[in-house]
Symmetry: none
Subunit: 243 residues, 4 copies
DNA sequence: AATGAATGAGCCTTCATTCAT
DNA sequence: GATGAATGAAGGCTCATTCAT
C-alpha cells in the first residue's frame, strides 16, 4: 500500500503539519516555552519527527521563521507602483500593518516576529538579511524621497524608525494596549483607521523634519520646525525652543 | 536593638542581592529562561533563598518588576513644570527614552519591560495599573492639549501611541537595529539626538493630524498634507487589497 | 510484527519491573517515604520511566495497588463451594489470612493494604469499591447465615468486623507482635494454626451472639451468658466512667 | 520584664504547646508527613524550637508518643477491681476502646498508635516496653483465667490477640469502615454498643476455645462450647451480681 | 533562652534527544 | 522512512537543621 509516492506525500505532509503546528505553538508561548512534544502532538506526528525533519527544535524554529516570513511577504507585498513617495509610504505602512496585525497573520507571524526582536535567537541574522533589510531599504528610499535629495542618512534612518516604531507598537505591545483600552478591536476597519492615522502622522512628521532640516542651520533646529509648523499649529510652539 | 538591626541588615542585604541579580538574569534571558539557581549563585545566596524571601520564582519576578519600575520612575521622572504642551511632550519623551534606553536602565528595566509586553505574565496587570496607566494619562493630556480641546478621544489615543511607539521601538527592536545599523550607539548624545528627533517628528505629526482633523477652523488648516495623506493612503489601500 | 512485539515486550518488561520494584518500596516505606529514584533504580529503569509509564508517582501507586489486589485475589480466592456456613467462614478466614499474611504476599500486598487503611490515599476509594466491598458482602452473607435469618443487620456487621479484626490484627500489628512474642513465626503451619483458631473463636463468638440476641427461640437461647456479659460490661462501664 | 520565672514559664509553655501541636500534626499526617515548620507555626513557636526543646523531629515524636500514652492510660485506666474474669475482660475491652476510639483520644493517641504499629519508628521499642507489654500481660491473665488454669500459653496468646484485634480494627481501619458503612458514628453510645458486642463475642469465643481445647473432642466442638459457656457464664453471672 | 535567616541535600517532574526496531 | 520507549540532565521547590545574634 505504501508506495514511494505516498511515502513522499506523507513525508511532505508531516513536514507541513509540523511547520503549521510549530508556528502556532511558537507564537503562543515562544521558542523556550514551546515543547517538541506539544508541537508533534498537534501535528499528529511522532515525538521524533522534529528531530527527523529539522534536526532539532532550533532547526524547526528557524524554518518556521523563514516560512512565516515568506508567507507574509507574498500575502501582503509592499506595492511597487511608481506613485509619488507619499503614496508609497502609505502602501508601505498598510502592507506592513497587515503583515503583523491582520488577524490571519498576527496570530503567527506577528507574534513570532515580536518575540524574535525582543529575545533574538540564532535565526535572527538570517531573518534580518532575507526579510528585514530589504524592507528597511525600501523604506529608506521612500523616506529619502520625502525628505528631499540632500537628506542626511542619519535623519533618513531616524524617520524610518519613527514610521516602523508606530507600526510595530501595535504588534509588540498589544497585551498592554488591550489592558489600557479594552474595547479597541483590530479588525479590517481598525487596520484601515490605523493605516490612515500612521500615514498621516508620519507624512506630517517627515515633512516637519524636512522643513526643519532643509536650512541646515543647527542653531535654528529647534526654531525652524516651529515656523514650519506655525501654519498648522498654535503660537504656543514658541516655547518648545528647548525641551 | 543591635541584634534586630544586624539581622534585618543581613536580611535586607540578601534580599537586595537577590533582586539585583534577578533583574540582570530576567533581563538577559526572560522569566522562563531564568533559573533560580543562577540567580542565587549570582546573588551569593543559597538555592532556597528565593523561596524564603519571595515565596517562589514568580514572586521574585513580580518584586523585581515593581522595584525596577519604581527605580526608573524616581531616576527619570517626567518633568511636571507648567510648560506649554510642546515642551511637556519633549519632557515626556526625554524621560521615557531615558527610562528605557539609558545605559544604566536599559539593561534591566527596559529589557524586562519589553519582554513583559511581548510575553505578559501575571505581573503585567499590576504593572499596567501602577506604572503604565498613569504615564498613559499624562501623555493623553499633553496630546489633548496639542490637538486642541475638541479632539476626538480616539485621535488622542492614536497620536499618543504614535509617540510611544517611536520611543519603544528603540527598546523593543534593539537587536534588529544593532544588526541593521551596527555603528549607532545609544549613549547620552545618541539619546539627545533621539529625543530631539522624536519630539520634532511627533510635534509635526500631531499638528498635522490636528490640522487635518479639525476643519472647524479653516483658516489654520494645513490643507495640502491632508489631501496628500488621504489620497495616498486610499490609493495604497486599493492596490493592496489582494495580491 | 516482530518489531511491535519486541517493543511491546520491552515496554511491558519495563512496566512490570517498575510495578514489581514499586510494590516492594511502597510496602517498605509507604507512599510518602518511597522515592521515584529508588524505585527506578531497583527496576533498572531511568528516573523518567515512572513519568512515562504511569504519569507520576501517584499513578504508579494506584496501579501497584490494583495489581497487588488482583494478584492476591487470584492467588488465594475465597472458596465458593456450597458448604455449610461454618465451613464457608473457615474458607473465608483461611483465604483472607493467606492473602495478607502468607510470606509471598504479606511483604507486598499485606503491608501496602495495612498502610492504605491507616493512611488512606486517593486510591482507597477505588480499592474499596473493587476489592474490599465484595469481600465485605461475602462475609456478610456467611455471618448472616450463621446468625440465623432474622439477624439484625447491625449485629451482622459487628460480627463481621470481629472476624476481620482478628485477621487483620496479625497484618497491621506485626511489628508489635514480633516485639511481644519474638518466637512466633507465621509460616504455613503458623497460618494453619491461626486459621483454626480464628475460625473456632469466631464461630463460637457468632453463635454466642446469636444465642444471646435471638430470644425468639427460647429453647435454644443461651440465656445466662447474655446476662453475664451485659452485667459485666456495664459494671466495667460504670467503674471506668472517670478515673 | 522577663524574670527567670517568666522565662521558665514561657519555656514550659512553649514545650507544652509544641507537644500539643505535634500530637495533632503527627496524628493527621504521620511522622513523615509532618513538617517541623507546621508544628512550630501551630504552636506559635519559632522554627528552631523543636531543635531546641527536643533535639530533632524524632525526639519530639518520641516525646509525643510517650506523652499520649501516659495521658491515655491515666484517662481510661483498666479497672483493677477483683471482679471475675468475665467482668475484667469487659473492663479491659471498654478501657481499651475508649483509649483508642473515644473522640477526645482517637484524634491523637489512637491514630498515632495505629500509624506506629503499621510503620514502626525507633520509638516503638520504648512504647512496647512501657505501655503495650503491661497491657498485654493484663490481658493474658484475664484470658488465662477464662480459659482455665491449664490453658496452653499459645492458646492464651491467640485468644488475647483475637480480643485486641477486634478492638483495634475500629481504630486501624476506620477509613475503610467509614467508606463501607457511612452512617456509623462512634460516639459514646456507639462505643457502648461496641464494648458490649466485643465483650460478648470474645467471651463466647474464649469459652468456645476452652471447651474445645479441654475435652479435645473435635466432633462436638460446635455444640460443646455452647454448653460450656452456659455453665461458666452462670457462675460468672452470679459472681458479678455484686456491686 | 530564643530567634529567624540561611543552608544544602534531595524530591518530583519535565524536556529535548537518541536508538533499537 | 518512521516509531516510541528510554535517557539523563536540570529545574523549581520543600524540608530539617544550624548558627550568629
Amino acid at each position: 500500500m505504501r508506495t514511494a509516492a505516498s511515502k513522499n506525500a506523507s513525508h511532505a505532509a508531516t513536514r507541513g503539519a509540523l511547520l503549521h503546528a510549530a508556528a502556532d505553538v511558537f507564537a503562543e508561548v515562544g521558542f523556550r516555552g514551546a515543547t517538541v512534544r506539544d508541537i508533534c502532538r498537534r501535528a499528529g506526528a511522532n515525538v521524533a519527527a522534529v528531530s527527523y525533519h529539522f534536526g532539532d527544535k532550533a532547526g524547526l524554529y528557524s524554518e518556521v521563521l523563514a516560512e512565516q516570513s515568506r508567507l507574509a511577504q507574498s500575502r501582503y507585498p509592499v506595492p511597487t507602483g511608481d506613485d509619488d513617495p507619499a503614496a508609497q509610504l502609505g502602501g508601505f505602512i498598510r502592507s506592513f500593518l497587515q503583515r503583523v496585525l491582520s488577524p490571519e497573520l498576527h496570530a503567527r507571524h506577528g507574534r513570532i516576529m515580536a518575540r524574535e526582536m525582543v529575545e533574538p535567537t540564532a535565526a535572527l541574522d538570517r531573518l534580518v538579511a532575507e526579510a528585514i533589510r530589504p524592507q528597511s531599504e525600501m523604506l529608506r528610499e521612500i523616506v529619502s524621497a520625502l525628505l528631499g535629495g540632500a537628506a542626511d542618512p542619519a535623519t533618513v534612518r531616524l524617520c524610518g524608525m519613527s514610521v516602523v516604531g508606530q507600526i510595530l507598537f501595535y504588534c509588540h505591545c498589544r497585551p498592554v494596549i488591550d489592558r489600557l483600552f479594552p474595547g479597541a478591536e483590530l479588525d479590517a476597519t481598525g487596520l484601515d483607521r490605523l493605516t490612515t492615522h500612521i500615514t498621516a502622522f508620519s507624512l506630517a512628521g517627515i515633512r516637519g523634519i524636512a522643513a526643519a532640516g532643509a536650512p541646515s542651520r543647527p542653531g535654528q533646529r529647534a526654531r525652524t520646525p516651529h515656523r514650519a509648523e506655525r501654519s498648522s499649529a498654535s503660537v504656543a510652539a514658541k516655547r518648545t525652543v528647548r525641551t
